[in-house]
Symmetry: C2
Subunit: 296 residues, 2 copies
């Protein structure tokens, strides 16, 4: 039986060490660096970097080789959280059990800390030392995948749609498109980058894309469910906020039970496509199940 | 006699065409795309892309080959303007004679449009089609130069220092360090990227770095002078705002006359180091002079 919790713990140590190393040499007393570290090291689940590493392992790659991509993905994710939490956007005070960046610091510092993490992601991706031929081209492709996923046709478009949807009643399909962009795009990018850096074949990439789309959506459905019935102490943030804001969510449209079944079906589909992989894909299998069973 | 105004006009046409092409295929009616275009095509001077092209020409390169870098530099610059103008930062209503992005749209859209332009810069830089060997490595270096210059140890640090300086009396040295980061870093990056993509030798790069540092500072001193004695109609923005905000500026510390002389000395120094270049560096020479003689 594959021990996912040991796997995640082990990978998180690697990722946190790498993230700390990146910010280690910077001037520690400067508020911008403090704010970046504050949000980056706030105890996130590191789902995207772990997926990136698990994808590279699934196609025979080494975790160490994709660490810069894993770190960059977490930086892009953290930047998006900092900006989404801003007063002009979702105006959230609490994140991962701690005051959000603009509450702990101030709004200007939070905007710039987000900007800085986004920019640092690309600095990290372009600083990679390599020797093999074609490796530069691979890292360029990684930068292309991440920037496209994070950009105005991906994650940012999703956030725009999310804000526009406030007070609206979305259909399940509209909700799906929104989440495919807002969270799905970067989750897909995480898997593709990990696979690409291990020289995955096209067919493997296609399978991982299908896996990513299914677990990305399942992740969001579960987030919505947790916002209804999660434990705020475990989650480190308030629950019931979606209902309060009259947000369109899966439980609001489909009901809790159907939403749970929907998420389960998505994960089943993700597990189904992984069948052609051998046990190197066990972490991906366990992660798919974890995504709907997690409590935070 | 080198005709700078024809040169700038010609390069601006190339740059604007390239920028329009990049955003052409996107969904035009979406507010995020509208906001990105609004700020990107608001009639900026395109100093950074022009310097990038002029630098590549100075070392024997072709403008066409550096256009993605030129466009990315303008996107990074425009993102920084959008975010600097936000209510939580400098709270400016007018930019280039038009309402700032958050006034024309709203604050959330402006934050995301800035984010999107920053992200798009890296999408553009990583989408370059190339055939030659080592070209991928060169574009990775360009991404590294631009992300480092724009990041928390460069432009963003400069903006943090600028905000911290409000109400303080800076020394000339403190002012210099702040501007070296806030505007100097990206100007230097513009020249280095242009030169690097034309395979400039190390000595040429060093000369262009010295040129960049001098004109970068001269550019800022001139900005400060224009804020005192510029024509708001020509500049498209209010003047006298620095004095109103009690900002530390070169005219405030050194007086107008000494500031003018300081800017002139910087440009003389920039022209001096260019002496080893032949007439291919004429655009760079003319640009140095333009930077202190411009009226906007």
């Amino acid at each position: 039986m594959f021990d996912l919790s040991a796997y995640i713990k082990n990978k998180n140590q690697q990722i946190n060490l790498a993230l700390e190393k990146i910010l280690h040499n910077s001037r520690p007393s400067e508020p911008i660096v403090e704010a970046m570290k504050y949000s980056l090291m706030a105890g996130g689940k590191r789902i995207r970097p772990v997926l990136c590493i698990a994808a590279t392992e699934a196609v025979g790659g080494k975790p160490q080789a994709v660490l810069p991509a894993a770190c960059a993905l977490e930086m892009v994710h953290t930047y998006s959280l900092i900006h989404d939490d801003l007063p002009a956007m979702d105006n959230d005070d609490l994140r991962r059990g701690k005051p959000t960046c603009h509450v702990a610091f101030d709004e200007a510092t939070a905007i710039l800390a987000g900007d800085a993490l986004l920019t640092l992601a690309f600095e990290v991706l372009s600083s990679v030392q390599f020797t093999g031929k074609n490796q530069a081209a691979s890292w360029l492709k990684v930068i292309h995948i991440i920037s496209t996923a994070a950009g105005y046709q991906g994650m940012i478009r999703g956030q725009m749609l999310d804000m526009a949807a406030e007070g609206q009643h979305l259909t399940v399909d509209e909700l799906k498109s929104m989440h495919t962009l807002k969270t799905g795009a970067l989750i897909e990018a995480s898997l593709l980058c990990g696979a690409l850096l291990a020289d995955a074949r096209k067919r493997q990439m296609d399978i991982l894309k299908t896996y990513a789309r299914n677990i990305g959506l399942a992740f969001q459905v579960t987030d919505d469910i947790l916002n209804v019935e999660g434990n705020p102490k475990i989650m480190g943030k308030a629950v019931g906020t979606d209902e309060l804001r009259e947000k369109s969510t899966y439980p609001a449209i489909l009901g809790l039970e159907t939403s749970r079944q929907f998420a389960k079906n998505l994960v089943d589909e993700a597990l189904q496509v992984l069948k052609v992989f051998d046990k190197t894909a066990d972490p991906l299998r366990a992660l798919a199940t974890y995504i709907i069973e997690r409590k935070r």
